[in-house]
Symmetry: C2
Subunit: 469 residues, 2 copies
């Protein structure tokens, strides 16, 4: 990827301002000069880490350079050592956090289009090597991208890295030929930090095996970025098909659609789902995602513990991945919180479900009417012997299902036998004539209210969920 | 991935025989014992490389072990050193080639379902590390797969690797506890081969950075295998949509469909296409595939050189990737090799194209008839003043296009002005009345044969390509 291609990939608009993070080292001075000659509108932003005695002097030099170039300068500083101690971070991590917060804050204040930083091809290959050593997957091995959103710093302003294809030695040569006087951070030469150990010890060792190892690694990163995009694209398309509904701490999948996806796709989907529900959770490893992907594609009704405090469960045609503490979704069921009196017309239940009541004066060809467990017809005269009530279950409720000529059974037993999920039971709507249950929507009518030869008027009850409600 | 999952992924059928490649070392003896206790029907196959003085003795031991276990034994041998010298291969490569040929040949002769080999988790991480050092992409970094077809050895019988999740130390421990007496190849301890240098020098060095580096690398391989499957799946689906036709050395894409795919997808498509056309060509790197992917999605009509002796060109709604030496496709055009006489009915041209001729006695509502450049109506009486001939262009052909009242133009100029691709011109069918061109299919009729007020009979000519021809 040449410098031009890379600048294209940063997607910068020459008309809009951008914040450039300039430390004063060779990489950032090269970045500044390249952006400046390409005609971008730059705001120079410099963060003084105050970690070295020369820091104040270096800050002054960056400010003076900006001034001489006629560019706006923003300086920031923070107590890196104290912050690191308080937050139990390494000095490097604390410095990075405070610096990026400053840069993105500057970008927001000045409505800048992006924050540009001077990461080079050397930084890229060191990053990939670090990820390789820790056993990263594709997302890590692909390295840094030329343009991306870091949601922890800003949801909309991207970080861009125009120098990812330029080697550090090239930025130094560039500074020399453009008469730029960078300062050099002496800590770069210490091998106390992992990155510096990689740079000075491991990298030369690996170059014994392949003298062009760094170029090779840069190529690997670029190639894996392409694969990563493809994987994300495929997952996006599949996600759109298989996910029916998401809540704050749960995701509801369509089991039928899931069964049509490949094992590899389900592995990807479950990793994405876990990351959505537990953004800071540990990475889902291959065995865990494989195990989950097999479960997700299986027929049968089960529940399964997953990683990071998440679990799977199946309800009818849906499979859920949810956090243990989730408020689980119930919008796929009609639910009712308190009793309602109902005479005619329609009555709203939870989540867009509606109960409709209609009367018919005469019994006309009953068999031709459409009927299922959600639309039933009862004897209207018998129903009207008491008030029509729609209510949630009460403790001790009993029910005489159609076909049970005498006696009754416990409603709680009925729910268990019919595999109604536990959490749907307390709010399940019951249509009653006075105290007596006449219909359990979705299941069965009560024997006493059935249509017989002596029925003269019908009451038709239906519950459904109109679309887009 | 545990041993059980891995065995699942090998997809072996306990009812069918399989060939196990057994060297007699700890890995292969462990493989033999694991397959045997899992109830598979094993044929022991051993290749004697004759590279070490102990080789014959070791072969005899494997044969004797098979015999004592009641398993069929097949021995093979070959002159590795001579073959390596002849083919300019390393000893390792030559040994591998001859060994695999023997194993797959054995599998074919015995109608075995697969060839099983004893690659371990150590082999896996060494493989991934070698690919990492050379700058491989996803296909290399994902390492060895538990089951795959190696087309150079057999198109249908897979190679399976049931031990990929077991460490070498585990296979040695397994042999000890199962009272198996493996022999050890002393060349494993020499650091002359790259793989051995990695094992004994580099790997311990990397473990200084991550003491669990080998486990990490195994995890990386497993995770990348999942991503690799997803990428292949996405490419398969897209390939199916964008590729219209393939020849031996060319691939024809639908430009409209290409323009709807993402840049990342086009990068993947072009790499796959290049691999199909040049299976042994060098890997297409990121810049080349990026450049090609941009070109593939562009409007406008161009030609572009690509890598490995391939080039792109655009013809109408198609984009081709072709080898310079390709016999380019012309099936999207009607073509004719020699003159044909035609009176009535239909006449076959090249690649399933057909010319149809029909007559109509009276001129009925001419405007209501469907007409385009591939179906025209002419004055039949004028056409019949001479024989109806369909023929390819002749040098010096001239043509009086509809609307040119006097004079004529060169056919060659007409073709150029109308942007007919060069290679379509020599075989382009012309419908003539005697010597005179009456219609250039796909373009225009000739002025003299147009329908006028005095036309009494019509001749309708059409050229089309019925589907599935």
């Amino acid at each position: 990827m040449g410098l031009d291609t890379l600048l294209d990939k940063c997607g910068l608009d020459p008309q809009r301002e951008l914040v450039a993070g300039i430390s004063g080292g060779p990489d950032s001075l090269c970045l500044l000069e390249i952006l400046r000659t390409a005609g971008y509108r730059i705001i120079v932003a410099h963060f003084n880490h105050k970690l070295r005695p020369e820091a104040d002097q270096e800050s002054a030099e960056v400010a003076s350079l900006s001034n001489s170039l006629g560019l706006p300068f923003l300086g920031g500083t923070g107590d890196v050592r104290t912050y690191a101690a308080e937050q139990h971070l390494s000095i490097e991590e604390a410095a990075r956090l405070l610096r990026y917060r400053f840069l993105f804050e500057a970008a927001r204040i000045h409505s800048a289009q992006a924050v540009a930083v001077g990461h080079t091809a050397d930084d890229q290959v060191e990053t990939v090597l670090m990820h390789f050593l820790r056993g990263a997957g594709l997302a890590g091995l692909k390295g840094m991208e030329p343009r991306l959103i870091l949601p922890q710093f800003d949801q909309h302003i991207p970080l861009v890295r125009p120098l990812l294809s330029l080697w550090r030695s090239e930025t130094e040569a560039f500074c020399a030929t453009h008469n730029l006087k960078p300062h050099y951070d002496p800590s770069n030469n210490e091998t106390i930090y992992l990155r510096n150990r990689l740079r000075h010890n491991l990298m030369p060792g690996l170059e014994n095996y392949n003298p062009r190892f760094k170029e090779a690694l840069l190529r690997t990163a670029q190639s894996l970025q392409g694969d990563f995009s493809l994987v994300q694209e495929a997952l996006d398309a599949s996600w759109h098909k298989v996910v029916l509904e998401t809540g704050e701490k749960w995701i509801g999948f369509d089991r039928d659609q899931l069964s049509r996806t490949s094992l590899a796709m389900r592995r990807g989907l479950v990793r994405r789902a876990a990351l959505m529900l537990r953004p800071t959770g540990r990475e889902i490893d291959f065995s865990a995602s494989e195990h989950a992907a097999v479960f997700m594609g299986m027929p049968g009704s089960h529940q399964m513990d997953f990683a990071n405090g998440l679990f799977f469960f199946i309800e009818g045609s849906r499979l859920y991945l949810a956090a243990y503490e989730a408020d689980l979704p119930s919008s796929q069921w009609p639910q009712i919180e308190e009793s309602k009196l109902q005479v005619n017309g329609s009555c709203e239940l939870s989540s867009g479900w509606v109960l409709s009541v209609e009367y018919a004066a005469a019994l006309i060809d009953e068999n031709s009417l459409e009927s299922d467990n959600w639309t039933v017809r009862l004897d209207a005269d018998l129903m009207e012997a008491a008030e029509l009530v729609i209510r949630p279950p009460h403790p001790g409720d009993r029910f005489q299902p159609l076909g049970m000529v005498t006696g009754s059974q416990k409603l709680s037993d009925f729910f268990i036998n019919n595999k109604l999920p536990q959490r749907a039971r307390a709010g399940w709507p019951l249509v009653c004539s006075g105290e007596q249950i006449a219909w359990i929507p979705g299941f069965l009518i009560a024997h006493p209210f059935r249509i017989t030869g002596s029925t003269r008027r019908l009451i038709q009850l239906s519950i459904n969920k109109p679309l887009n409600k």
